[in-house]
């Protein structure tokens, strides 16, 4: 069988059905093994490539592990100060309304230091896409507690687990911004299985398609692992994420066509 297979020789360019897009650099990404940032980067670049809008797209990178996104995505990028990406993206989109604009932000960036910028850009109904990578922690700086850290979840600044009476409740910023009239599309996805990766790509595609219609903010959250910060292997971290993050941050669409999705449908079983 081995021999016959070798003879078949299907490793030819015309038989390629999947290959990393050239819109993602060929250099190694700086992310830890198994981190979702790389997968989201790749899906984002595939969407821009398939829509053929990569020459007309400007991204705003955050502060956090993905601070280097400008270095990995072969498109026009601007680096914003911590949390200020939605303010920068507002200016860019207003100056170049015919361009596609997105921010790429972690939970520390978007839901802690940048809360004001996030909420006001969403409430103003700016016409760009927000890509929000929620790993429940400040990954880059050593795994400190974030507003998104789950109750009881350990972090370097909550070593015995987040104690809600003293440390407060986690902030579901995605559900919060979904309430705002300036926000047109809100969804929460993941990238730890092939099926989830494909759904994330579809959600990103939809978010960029909506920019053509100037309907307001399209907000795509991706619940992701920070296996280094969580102190687990990537495979363990993905399992932990399914068991602990998804019940609190259920996957699925939250707002579609400017309308909140009924709770029942929100839990995406699969």
């Amino acid at each position: 069988m081995e021999e016959q297979f070798e003879k078949i020789e299907i490793r030819k360019p015309e038989n390629i059905v999947y290959k990393k897009t050239d819109l993602l650099v060929d250099r190694p990404l700086s992310y830890c093994p198994g981190c979702g940032h790389g997968t989201v980067h790749r899906m984002l670049m595939e969407v821009l490539e398939e829509m053929n809008i990569y020459e007309k797209t400007i991204g705003v990178s955050p502060v956090g592990c993905s601070v280097l996104a400008y270095d990995f995505l072969n498109i026009d990028m601007i680096g914003a100060a911590h949390g200020r990406a939605p303010a920068v993206a507002t200016a860019v989109k207003r100056l170049w309304p015919d361009h596609f604009v997105f921010t790429y932000q972690g939970d520390g960036d978007l839901a802690a230091i940048g809360t004001a910028e996030t909420i006001h850009a969403c409430n103003r109904g700016e016409n760009f896409t927000i890509i929000f990578i929620n790993n429940g922690i400040y990954g880059m700086t050593g795994g400190q507690m974030a507003p998104t850290t789950l109750p009881g979840m350990r972090s370097s600044t909550s070593p015995y687990g987040r104690d809600v009476p003293t440390m407060g409740h986690p902030l579901k910023i995605t559900e919060l911004v979904a309430q705002l009239p300036g926000v047109h599309f809100v969804t929460r996805q993941a990238v730890h299985t092939p099926g989830n990766v494909r759904k994330t790509k579809k959600a990103l595609r939809k978010a960029f398609e909506l920019q053509k219609e100037n309907k307001g903010v399209a907000f795509v959250e991706v619940v992701s692992n920070c296996n280094s910060g969580w102190k687990m292997t990537p495979v363990q971290a993905n399992k932990w994420m399914e068991e602990h993050m998804f019940p609190f941050y259920p996957l699925g669409d939250i707002k579609v066509d400017g309308k909140l999705v009924e709770k029942k449908e929100m839990v995406d079983k699969e």
Partner: protein, 76 residues
């Protein structure tokens, strides 16, 4: 008989050994090497001939290091 055959090529130097691709493969085509690459990571490798070219492993690989081939082949 015509049959769909798949194949993968893993850029083992770029693989970070996260093992996320292993569970993604419906035909357990991928396992980890005993050897390490120049960065010190055990890398993913193909261990059988069952690949159908479904692209699951490549889609989920955080570092995009897997290329997938698929073709219709005729066997006697």
């Amino acid at each position: 008989m015509a049959k769909i055959k798949g194949d993968i090529v893993i850029n083992t130097e770029r693989c970070k050994g996260c093992e996320v691709c292993i569970a993604a493969c419906p035909f357990t085509v991928i396992a980890m090497s005993k050897d390490v690459n120049s960065k010190g990571y055990h890398f993913a490798m193909k261990v059988n001939d069952e690949c159908t070219g479904c692209t699951n492993c490549a889609v989920v690989c955080p570092d995009g290091v897997i290329t997938v081939y698929r073709a219709k082949v005729t066997t006697e």
